[in-house]
């Protein structure tokens, strides 16, 4: 996993590698400085030797300047490396998602993809910055400090041997007990978010049913849960600092006692008072390095979960890819289904299309009728190869869709999805998704075709009207017509409307169909609809039930010989006569 993720470092590799070098130099300076400080005290201040003090002082200042330079350099390269890594990681993820097929997207769900690209990347980035700086710094500091301490007085260093394990064990236990609690806390946070989300989106229901108090109680309970679990974790974590202090104090006391003994007994030969002070400084450094290491471990465990989630996306293989030497031209709008079976999960038991055979000629208008979940959308999604068939083959213009260049195929097979989306931007910008080189006249022409021009002209800013994210500032029917216009701009050979006029009234609906007939007669048109009126004038109508073709014929034929079609027709024509 680390190998895959580290690939995203790329052009920031030098920054990532040089940071530890600078950190190492910085650490060396930081170790040298206390040493010089001790000398300054022992040979200068304590002896009252001004010249020596001055000399060591200058050395110290030089060391400080070097430390400053290395510190700044490492700080700069570290931020460059981590910001760059995050940038590339986001980019890799985003590009990967762009290559995803519909099946890949379904697998992850939109919401989770968004979290992975945002929160998870931030977590990993933080860990990465830690990794480049502290992970080098802390162990290095630890090792050098230990060496220096032993160098000053090996006997006294024995004290550290006793204290370091105490700290290590305590920290280990703290981490061990806190980690599962923290995981629990994160899960509780999910619960909390769910309650809030439900209340925000369902606020009208909450207010209508006057259940505010009940919801407050529900929220209070989750909120208390978090409080309790988190407090439990905090109570354990509260041991960390005092343990540190305890170790440091214990160190000082033991060193003071034994150190004093050594100094006095050897008459300052084995250990000087200045060295004693330095020794204490090193001890504190050793202990705080240990502390840092434990913090890094804590951070990494949190980041690990995020890294895993990112990794899952990065290793996901897009399951729809171009073939080698693909066909780049779609001859015409003929469509052919040969013994097609399809399942979203590649499971024969759960097929949502079974053994479909169909032949549609270029220029025909085909209607599709069927209940929710009967497989209408699945059927048409196979034509622009949004999904691959499980069995059989789908041909467009006499060529298997799997042999086409994907872009070429999808440019010719224009699909207006059931769950359609407009993006933030002007109307023109949105329509031009179909063809970025289109002129304003082209845009207006397709909008007229889709019966959208009239209402667009009614907006104060006309075609420059700004559409908000998700198209919330136009009505459902207007949105659908803009989506149709956008699809038309591609000048496709096949046009698929997946329940795309459900919010458009019957009159406009029929005007759109009339425009299709007259303006784009050569384009094959496939129309999925709930309303019989939307499909009754089609050349042929497909009735789908439970993943199978139940009927295929004209309106009149189906009325005569298809039970389902007749039932739907009757229920819609009779309307409320059956009510009351």
């Amino acid at each position: 996993m680390l190998k895959k993720l580290s690939k995203s470092v790329r052009e920031y590799k030098w920054a990532a590698f040089i940071t530890p070098v600078f950190v190492t130099l910085e650490v060396i300076m930081e170790v040298v400085i206390p040493l010089l400080m001790a000398n300054l005290i022992d040979d200068g201040v304590y002896m009252g030797e001004m010249n020596a003090a001055l000399k060591i002082g200058v050395e110290l200042i030089i060391a400080a300047v070097l430390s400053l330079i290395f510190g700044c350099l490492s700080g700069i390269t570290a931020s460059k490396a981590s910001a760059g890594f995050a940038k590339n990681l986001r980019k890799d993820l985003y590009y990967k998602v762009q290559d995803f097929s519909f099946a890949n997207i379904d697998k992850f769900s939109t919401a989770s993809l968004v979290t992975r690209l945002t929160t998870d990347v931030s977590n990993v980035q933080q860990a990465f910055q830690m990794l480049t700086r502290i992970t080098v710094r802390a162990p290095l500091m630890l090792v050098i400090s230990v060496i220096m301490a032993i160098n000053i007085n090996a006997e006294l260093s024995m004290i550290l041997l006793i204290i370091v394990p105490i700290i290590a064990i305590t920290l280990f236990f703290i981490l061990r007990y806190v980690h599962p609690l923290m995981e629990k806390v994160f899960r509780k946070y999910d619960d909390l978010n769910e309650v809030v989300e439900e209340n925000v989106s369902g606020i009208r229901v909450v207010k209508s049913f006057v259940i505010e108090e009940k919801e407050k109680k529900k929220f209070g309970k989750v909120s208390s849960d978090i409080y309790n679990t988190f407090s439990k974790a905090e109570k354990i974590m509260a041991f960390t600092m005092p343990t540190m202090q305890f170790a440091i104090y214990l160190c000082i006391i033991l060193i003071s006692w034994f150190g004093a003994n050594i100094i006095v007994n050897t008459g300052m030969t084995d250990l000087t008072t200045g060295q004693l002070m330095t020794f204490i400084t090193y001890s504190i450094q050793i202990l705080s390095s240990l502390m840092m290491i434990s913090m890094v471990i804590m951070m990494l465990t949190i980041a690990r979960a995020s890294a895993e989630r990112i990794y899952e996306v990065l290793i996901e293989e897009p399951n729809i890819k171009d073939k080698e030497n693909p066909v780049t031209e779609v001859k015409n709008g003929d469509i052919e289904f040969n013994n097609v079976s399809f399942s979203y999960v590649d499971d024969k038991e759960k097929e949502c299309l079974k053994d479909i055979n169909l032949k549609i000629e270029s220029g025909q208008t085909i209607g599709i009728i069927g209940g929710t979940g009967s497989g209408k959308s699945s059927l048409v999604n196979l034509i622009p190869r949004l999904y691959d068939v499980t069995e059989g083959s789908v041909k467009v213009g006499d060529v298997d869709v799997r042999d086409y260049d994907l872009k070429a195929l999808r440019d010719q097979v224009s699909c207006v999805l059931q769950k359609n989306v407009l993006f933030s931007g002007t109307i023109t910008e949105n329509i031009k998704w179909g063809d970025e080189n289109a002129t304003d006249e082209d845009v207006q022409r397709v909008c007229k075709l889709a019966q959208a021009d009239e209402f667009i002209q009614g907006f104060p800013d006309k075609y420059n009207t700004y559409i908000e994210q998700g198209g919330t500032n136009v009505s459902g029917g207007q949105k659908q017509r803009l989506c149709i216009a956008r699809a038309l701009l591609k000048k496709p050979k096949i046009l698929i409307l997946d329940d795309s006029t459900s919010a458009v009234d019957t009159k406009t609906d029929s005007l759109i169909r009339k425009a299709f007939r007259e303006e784009i007669p050569d384009t094959t048109k496939i129309i999925i609809a709930q309303r019989i009126s939307s499909v009754e004038d089609a050349d042929k109508i497909i009735v789908i039930d439970d993943g199978k073709i139940n009927g295929f014929g004209t309106h009149e034929e189906l009325l005569k010989n298809n039970a389902i079609y007749k039932e739907v027709y009757d229920s819609q024509m009779k309307g409320s006569d059956t009510d009351a």
Partner: protein
């Protein structure tokens, strides 16, 4: 859908306000800490002082150790360590106190921080539940959610870590400074001057980096927003083979984020080495100046004093650096708190109604209030002169010359009058934005009218307590919105004290009983994620049962069946028809077939009622309704 026409939240302004902290935020935040946790804060304060004293004492101890014990012992022939041992033992005791008090304040503070966060969360949610619908119209879900996640998160760090850190650091600074003054006032002045210099340097860096941190947050929000929009529309991107374009735009935003992030972190990262090494420089200078002073015996300085003073100098700089390190976190937390308080300061939904809904029974031909549910409700109407009136709740609703606009001066309803007698079914038809949903939102007082009158059983609805008004209205909305909990709990939302029998009865009435019984856990099936495991039709049936269980005299059905396919609609329709019997019903429907049998149909256009009458009458008029019905006119 009314969403389109409602005023959208000024998103740009929200983002622009990010990072800005309103005045008084810190004080208000601290009030949260001190208000409920006074005792804890006293303990924390005492413990911080104790642990600081122990800490500073430790540094001073080293001087005593060298000057008073080790140096004299060096000159004795037979050193006796008794007094040294005593001194060390005393020190050990002080340290023990330090460690214990440190543990106590860490623990108390961390738990207090959690308590404060809980209080803030709870207050925030309580407030949110009381906000008017208008608030939810003008703020995106993401915005509201982020108060509970991002904003609260920044507070945790600040309260549990930065706050005690700052207190203890200032304590250390003060204690160290006192000790320094005690050792050598002259050198202390020198240190103060130099430290001010260090602070100025750090301050410049902190300012720079926090400026870029704000920029970074902004870019991050932009990138996240873009990613969210694009990935939500990923399938459309695929269909339009728009991938390359999407990548291009993303790269631009992503590069900007990189630049801001890099710059912000750069300044933050060099803060430490700069402050550290200025500290080192200070150390050298103090050492040199001190030595000169000691050699020349200025102010009676001993060399041992200089040594301890040097240690104090380091102890003095460290906490100052720590505080400046925390500053970024504090700024971010205050920005978060400021956003949270902004929401808490929103105006509540006002309710000055005094007419309440009570159970009633008829005794001697007179309406009397009673505790138990009788199936009869009454409005309890106290008058100014102290008398009480009981009016039976029948469901007689009257709108007279109502004007309304979501924004001032922009009316969306003009002079609307509707009369619904008990038991009548009234339908609203018209284009999107014509004002159908708006009318029903006025009846349950989601919004207040600008002009005109709405009466419920002859009482002005402004006089009725909002909760009671809404309890007397059953609502079935297009968006079903089920809540996490069992099916039974969801149905009981309509009536809190309902018995199991009542739940089943309501479910039967809504045609939901059958499918519920087919679920493995029946009425105890847990629903999560807005009931995602049920079909749209099934969710709708549960929401109908939820409205039915309270047996309200008035029902509002807003596009309750529009997103269901025709075959499922039949089942739902049967449930709805049973539900409508004997009640005053307001129906908004897309499919005209559902409203044909209404007593009266109101055709709305641009906020005005342009036609009214029964189906047959309207067909005969050959007006808009006729055109709509025959499909000659756009209904959207």
């Amino acid at each position: 859908m009314p969403k389109g026409q409602m005023p959208k939240g000024p998103r740009g302004i929200m983002l622009g306000a990010k990072g800005k902290v309103k005045k008084g935020t810190l004080k208000r935040l601290l009030q949260y800490v001190t208000k409920k946790h006074k005792k804890q804060m006293v303990i924390v304060f005492i413990c911080i002082i104790l642990s600081t004293v122990a800490n500073v004492g430790g540094t001073l101890f080293l001087r005593t150790l060298i000057d008073d014990y080790i140096t004299p012992l060096l000159s004795t022939v037979n050193p006796v360590f008794d007094s040294l041992l005593k001194a060390i033992a005393t020190m050990a005791c002080i340290y023990v106190v330090g460690v214990i008090s440190s543990y106590i304040y860490q623990r108390v503070m961390a738990v207090t921080a959690q308590g404060v966060l809980k209080d803030i969360r709870d207050d925030m949610f309580d407030k949110m539940e009381e906000l008017p619908i208008r608030y939810f119209d003008t703020h995106t879900h993401g915005e509201i959610m982020s108060h509970y996640t991002n904003d609260t998160d920044t507070l945790r760090q600040m309260i549990s870590q930065s706050l005690p850190n700052i207190i203890s650091s200032s304590m250390t600074v003060i204690a160290t400074f006192i000790s320094m003054l005690y050792l050598s006032p002259l050198l202390s002045v020198f240190v103060v001057v130099f430290t001010t210099l260090i602070l100025l340097c750090s301050n410049t860096l902190v300012k720079k980096s926090s400026k870029y941190f704000v920029a970074q947050q902004q870019s991050l929000a932009t990138v996240n927003g873009y990613v969210e929009e694009m990935i939500s529309g990923q399938k459309v991107i695929k269909v339009f083979t728009h991938e390359e374009k999407a990548k291009e735009a993303f790269d631009k935003l992503n590069d900007q984020l990189y630049t801001d992030m890099y710059t912000a972190n750069k300044f933050a990262n060099i803060l430490m080495p700069v402050a550290n090494n200025l500290g080192n420089l200070e150390y050298v200078l103090v050492a040199l100046v001190g030595t000169v002073m000691a050699i020349n015996n200025v102010a009676g300085l001993t060399l041992g004093t200089i040594v301890s003073f040097l240690n104090l100098t380091r102890g003095f700089n460290m906490p100052i650096q720590q505080v400046s390190n925390q500053l970024n976190a504090v700024i971010m937390a205050l920005a978060g708190a400021s956003r949270i308080f902004e929401m808490m300061d929103e105006e509540k939904e006002v309710d000055d109604g005094y007419v309440t809904l009570v159970n009633a029974k008829i005794e001697d031909g007179k309406l009397v209030e009673c505790k138990e549910r009788t199936g009869i409700w009454a409005w309890k109407h106290p008058h100014h002169d102290g008398t009480l009136d009981y009016v039976e709740v029948k469901g007689h609703i009257e709108l007279r010359n109502v004007d309304f606009g979501y924004e001032p001066n922009k009316l969306v309803l003009h002079d609307v009058s509707v009369y619904a007698k008990p038991g009548q079914k009234i339908a609203f038809v018209g284009a999107t934005g014509a004002g159908k949903t708006t009318i029903t939102n006025l009846i349950n007082r989601f919004y207040d009218i600008e002009d005109g009158k709405i009466r419920y059983d002859g009482i002005n609805i402004n006089k009725i307590k909002k909760d009671d008004l809404r309890r007397s209205l059953g609502m079935v909305l297009q968006d079903t919105n089920l809540f996490t909990g069992t099916i039974k709990e969801n149905i009981m939302y309509g009536k809190e004290d309902a018995t199991d029998e009542e739940v089943i009865e309501a479910a039967k009435l809504a045609n939901a009983h059958n499918f519920i019984m087919h679920l493995p856990n029946g009425y105890d099936t847990m629903l999560t994620n807005n009931g995602a495991q049920l079909s749209q039709g099934q969710r709708q049936l549960i929401s109908i049962a939820r409205a039915a269980i309270n047996n309200p005299p008035v029902m509002i059905l807003d596009e309750a069946t529009s997103s269901i396919d025709t075959r499922t609609e039949k089942i739902v329709q049967d449930g709805m028809d049973k539900l409508m019997e004997g009640r005053t019903v307001f129906v908004i429907a897309h499919r005209l077939s559902t409203v044909r049998n209404s007593k009266a149909i109101m055709v709305l256009d641009h906020g005005r009622i342009i036609e009214r009458g029964s189906h047959d009458e309207l067909i005969e008029q050959k007006g808009q309704y006729y055109q709509l019905y025959t499909g000659a006119f756009e209904l959207e």
